[in-house]
């Protein structure tokens, strides 16, 4: 396990040393809220407010309107972008031969992947903090309960671990940067086929079903519930969300490990 920590430490050191990456990480959520959220909110309010998501107690999101509703979606979007970047890092290390240094060292193979995924999760949590601060600045009212916060972060971390694993699985088997970005572009639909930006009950039923199969829906639901202390019409039960997210994290990392080892074996290497 110490190998996981050491490699995680290396990834984090390199990241924060890179001013452009850090700046981008902080700027991205700001842009999403301001450029997308403000506009959407204005549009929905202009339509008479009837389209704003309804909480099960009858009110909209605690006064912050659409921006409050979509903040968890922004957090998730950042997590997705982070996962893509994490996979790109692994691919870069594979192509430049740095992975050989890892493979020749007496460390477990999964450490290589887990360290990468955990650095993605760490950066995702930083971004989530930034996003929440921005949300506060735009008037969202958040639940004051620290236990809810801890849980919210935990579930966000689990989801991020899952998608990081999926991205790493792709990065482990492709042989070029072009191939990686070609495949990984499929990640954005994950976000849009969920209730990140629109409540489930306004979706046509076929899409509603897709959304229910999408782990993204569960993390969004959980974040809304824990961040705002409100339940929404059509929201998933908490225990189900927890189950789905734990399973998703395990599945993502398992896929990454399997893909990594399979690729090594396929080219005659030793795992």
């Amino acid at each position: 396990m110490t190998a996981t920590f050491d490699l995680w430490h290396k990834h984090m050191t390199k990241f924060f040393r890179n001013g452009e990456a850090t700046f981008g990480m902080l700027l991205q959520p700001v842009l999403w809220v301001v450029l997308f959220g403000v506009g959407m909110q204005a549009m929905l309010e202009a339509g008479g407010g009837g389209l704003l998501p309804q909480s099960s107690s009858g009110g909209g999101v605690s006064g912050a309107g659409y921006i409050g509703f979509m903040l968890p979606g922004i957090i998730t979007l950042s997590a997705l972008a982070g996962a893509v970047a994490g996979g790109a890092t692994l691919l870069d290390e594979r192509l430049r031969g740095i992975v050989k240094e890892y493979l020749v060292a007496p460390i477990p193979r999964y450490s290589i992947l887990l360290a990468n995924a955990l650095s993605t999760v760490t950066k995702g949590l930083f971004q989530a903090l930034v996003i929440v601060l921005i949300g506060l600045a735009f008037g969202a009212h958040l639940a004051p309960d620290p236990a809810s916060w801890g849980l919210a972060l935990l579930f966000a971390a689990l989801y991020t671990l899952g998608i990081a694993g999926l991205a790493l699985a792709v990065a482990a088997v492709v042989s070029s940067t072009l191939g990686y970005h070609g495949l990984i572009a499929l990640d954005l639909p994950l976000l849009f086929a969920s209730d990140a930006f629109y409540p489930l009950d306004v979706l046509p039923s076929w899409m509603g079903w897709i959304a229910r199969l999408n782990p993204t829906t569960y993390v969004i639901d959980t974040l809304r519930r824990l961040m705002y202390g409100v339940s929404y019409v059509g929201q998933m039960p908490g225990w189900l969300s927890a189950l789905v997210l734990v399973g998703f994290a395990a599945l993502g990392m398992a896929l990454a490990t399997l893909a990594f080892r399979a690729e090594i074996r396929a080219r005659g290497g030793a795992v």
């Binding site: 110490t2 290396k10 390199k14 890179n18 031969g97 020749v104 060292a105 007496p106 460390i107 030793a270």
Partner: protein, 315 residues
């Protein structure tokens, strides 16, 4: 504790069914030696090292490194070896000393020991001043030297160097040879290096194994290998009746060996400077036009030609 650092028996690697990179290689590398695998590009040297360092699965055969089997005890092998690869494999966004530090951490080295070793190795490869700078700014020679330090960082029992001076300018090449020379006195360290440069093998190695097409051709100390080649070797290239020339040379009493291959005729004689004029005369009389002729002590390249009929091309 055996006195062999590396053994291989029938080591074979076959790719995609028909590309045979390594063909039944046997090796015995004694502890504490600097051992060179000498051969042209494509001889299977890197593939051999990849198998010995547990990166590649052998198709057949066995190998042990530092007393452990490379397939069944790969983790134990990894803990005891250092490796530098043919291409530079460095994280350019890290500082020089960080590269060494993270490497040491992966091998479970405690902090104090890491600090001590980093200082010692940076001094050895003369990178003390550059150590706090990012690797991004290092020259090719500096990167190679840092990689050598990294290979030694964990105090390995066996250090594998794949073409350690390839692409280096003469000054950096000499430096690396100098560092390796000082390591010679380090007890408990065995070095296996691969090279296509016979001068490198001759200068550095206690023992040399000449490999070609994935097979071991001949093995021994550099001195043993050139024994029987004559005291001096005269190398001739040219056009014309080479058969007649070789026949005529064979009749001359001072000629000890004659080998041919790749457009080169190699004649082992007792005293090159004295015999040169006679050989030139002989060529003229045999209808052979000499385009190039040289006299020198026999080298490993001559040994290679003798055994394989091909020239060991210096890239």
């Amino acid at each position: 504790m055996s006195d062999t650092a590396i053994t291989a028996r029938g080591l074979t690697k076959r790719y995609n069914g028909d590309i045979l990179a390594v063909d039944g290689l046997d090796l015995d590398v004694p502890c504490g030696t600097i051992y060179a695998l000498l051969g042209p590009n494509g001889a299977g040297k890197t593939t051999t090292v990849s198998m010995l360092t547990t990166l590649l699965r052998p198709t057949a055969g066995t190998a042990t490194v530092a007393g452990y089997d490379v397939v069944s005890a790969s983790a134990q092998v990894r803990a005891r070896i250092g490796v530098t690869f043919q291409e530079t494999v460095l994280d350019k966004d890290l500082r020089g000393q960080e590269v060494l530090d993270y490497h040491g951490r992966l091998y479970g080295m405690p902090r104090a020991e890491r600090a001590r070793r980093i200082a010692e190795l940076l001094a050895l490869v003369e990178l003390d001043e550059a150590a706090p700078r990012l690797v991004k700014g290092y020259s090719g020679g500096m990167k190679r030297r840092l990689e050598l330090a990294r290979g030694l960082m964990t105090d390995p029992e066996v250090l594998f160097l794949d073409e350690p001076t390839q692409g280096l300018d003469p000054q950096n090449r000499a430096k690396v040879w100098e560092y390796l020379g000082t390591l010679r006195t380090r007890r408990g360290l065995t070095i296996l290096l691969t090279t296509h440069d016979m001068e490198e093998a001759d200068t550095l190695a206690d023992r040399v194994a000449i490999v070609d097409h994935g097979k071991l051709i001949v093995e021994g100390t550099p001195r043993e290998l050139v024994t029987g080649m004559g005291a001096d070797v005269i190398r001739i290239q040219g056009a014309g009746e080479s058969e007649a020339l070789v026949e005529a040379l064979g009749k001359m009493p001072f000629v000890q060996t004659i080998h041919r291959g790749d457009g080169l005729i190699q004649v082992g004689v007792d005293q090159g400077n004295r015999r040169l004029p006679e050989i030139v005369t002989c060529a003229n009389q045999s209808g052979f036009r000499i385009e190039f002729i040289a006299v020198a002590r026999p080298t490993l390249a001559d040994v290679f030609l003798r055994h394989t009929g091909r020239a060991l091309r210096d890239v």
